[in-house]
Amino acid sequence: MTGIDDPRASGTEGYNFAYLDEATKRMIRRAILKAVAIPGHQIPFGAREMPLPYGWGTGGIQVTAAILGPADVLKVIDQGADDTTNAISIRRFFTRVAGVATTESTAEASIIQTRHRIPEKALREDQVIVYQVPQPEPLSKLEPRRAETERLHALADYGLMHVRLYEDIARLGHIAKAYDYPVMVNGRYLMSPSPIPAFDNPKMDRMPALQLFGAGREKRIYAIPPYTPVRSLDFEDHPFRPIRAPHACALCGSTESYLDEVLTDDAGGRMFVCSDTDYCGERQVAVAQEAAE
């Protein structure tokens, strides 16, 4: 058989399974093990050059490559969608260099690599979610010195992060951070959840699936083991509130999912649809079946 899905026929002869050499994978796996052992703590790793630019998911791809086996089923989403450029490129990359099966279904996937979302459907113990992370350091905007932020983490000195939230409330009456909303992992480490919407933060709390985070340019890996408590920072009198647009999805009618605002014409026409395409599709099928029955 020839075709795009056959590594031997696609010009990938001589490449190792899943692109990275075994020594690199071992190095990354060690970093992952350490990250799992210290939930929320950033582990440095020797990020490799990847055949795509920084900012396109090089960290996530390396983590995925290091844990991927031939039997895995891979799902890749970007902003919740399986059909965007970044998601398609990465999915095809792994099809080509590892020959693994891919899927758009959350339920069928064993590994889900994501940028900016957590699927709406609850993840299970036998799944792993890999986040692409642009800036792993939650304190970076407040304290530019890396040595100092590491010291602040070591001493769990997180007053500064609360100062930022205090400033939001003082100026705007509420905490303005809508994505990359900082969390405390296992009551110890302050962590950036990557630029997912704050709406998704509660899904991280005690999630049955293993959560891995890879930052390629910043060369850091961190993790949240299954069932680990993850708490969004807040004040007692200004508790954390996940925010979603106050609409129902125009396609599936969901009033619970995270919505994207889509412009439909040049005259200001717009609609709100689920950002999670798989979830929305499944619901549309279900709704249609119900209607047909």
Binding site: R151, D157, G159, H162, V163, Y166, E167, I169, A170, D237
Partner: protein
């Protein structure tokens, strides 16, 4: 001779140091320095530029390690306790007021956020109460509470310095280090600040270790004084005795050089 002295004044010092020695290459920065400070006491370290007084402050506050000698906080060796413990001290029992308020404030954070930071660092998580406390402290240091949401860069130098003091004292430290706190201020503003510092020290039983080259300020503020020269403590004792009856040639020179202290 000392046997019949009352022991009422025998308070254990909060901080004490002995044998502090530090060299920067060939330059002796500290030479066998001993010092102690107790609760409710204002201790001034005076001397000209380069006399080692700022270095001493840095060593005493754990920011710099001496070549020899020990610094003890409530009996515990400061430089042996590890950075985590020292930092904890820095945000609880200690405060540090810098000469330049810009070094002690976050200029891109509102006045309220600046005052509230130490509260949040020690676990305060109630926005309303943090804000109340911040307002109370702004009033205490005579900064208009209506400016709580303004950035400190819009404040005058004297206001910035008072804000820095509020930010430092909000967690009720027991010892505050001050490095030339009235340094860059107008004379009239200095006086208000001196009065504020002294009042707070009396009211809160605060120990204040203040480094200054302003002898007149030290006279009004300090209970005791330590005169440094070339890394050595050449004289120490009651402030008014050191200034009115100086024993060491250098102190006599220093005092005679001051305009009507």
């Amino acid at each position: 001779m000392t046997a019949d002295l009352p022991q009422t004044s025998g308070r254990t010092p909060l901080l004490n140091a002995e044998g502090l020695t530090l060299r920067f290459g060939a330059i002796p920065a500290l030479v066998d320095v001993a010092i102690d400070i107790s609760a409710g006491e204002v201790l001034a370290i005076v001397g000209e530029s380069g006399s080692g007084k700022t270095t001493l402050l840095r060593v005493l506050s754990g920011m710099m390690a001496p070549d020899a000698g020990t610094v003890r906080w409530l009996g515990d060796d400061l430089h042996a306790m590890g950075e985590a413990a020292r930092r904890r001290l820095m945000r609880t029992d200690w405060g540090f007021v810098h000469q330049n308020p810009r070094d002690g404030l976050r200029l891109n954070v509102s006045a309220g956020g600046n005052v509230g930071e130490r509260l949040m660092a020690v676990g305060a998580r109630h926005y309303g109460r943090i804000r109340e406390e911040a307002i109370a402290w702004l009033q205490r240091v005579e900064v208009d509470a209506a400016r709580i949401d303004d950035l400190p860069r819009t404040f005058s130098g004297g206001m910035q310095q008072r804000l820095q003091i509020a930010r430092t004292l909000v967690t009720r430290p027991r010892l505050v280090f001050m490095d030339e706190p009235t340094g860059g201020l107008d004379v009239s503003v200095q006086a208000r600040l001196l009065d504020l510092i002294r009042g707070l020290s009396r009211e809160l039983g605060l120990a204040v270790l203040i480094v200054t080259h302003d002898i007149a300020a030290a006279r009004l503020l300090a209970d005791r004084m330590l005169v440094m020269r070339r890394g050595e403590v050449v004289e120490h004792g009651l402030t008014d005795r050191v200034l009115d009856d100086p024993q060491h040639p250098y102190t006599q020179l220093l005092v005679s050089s001051v305009l009507a202290a």
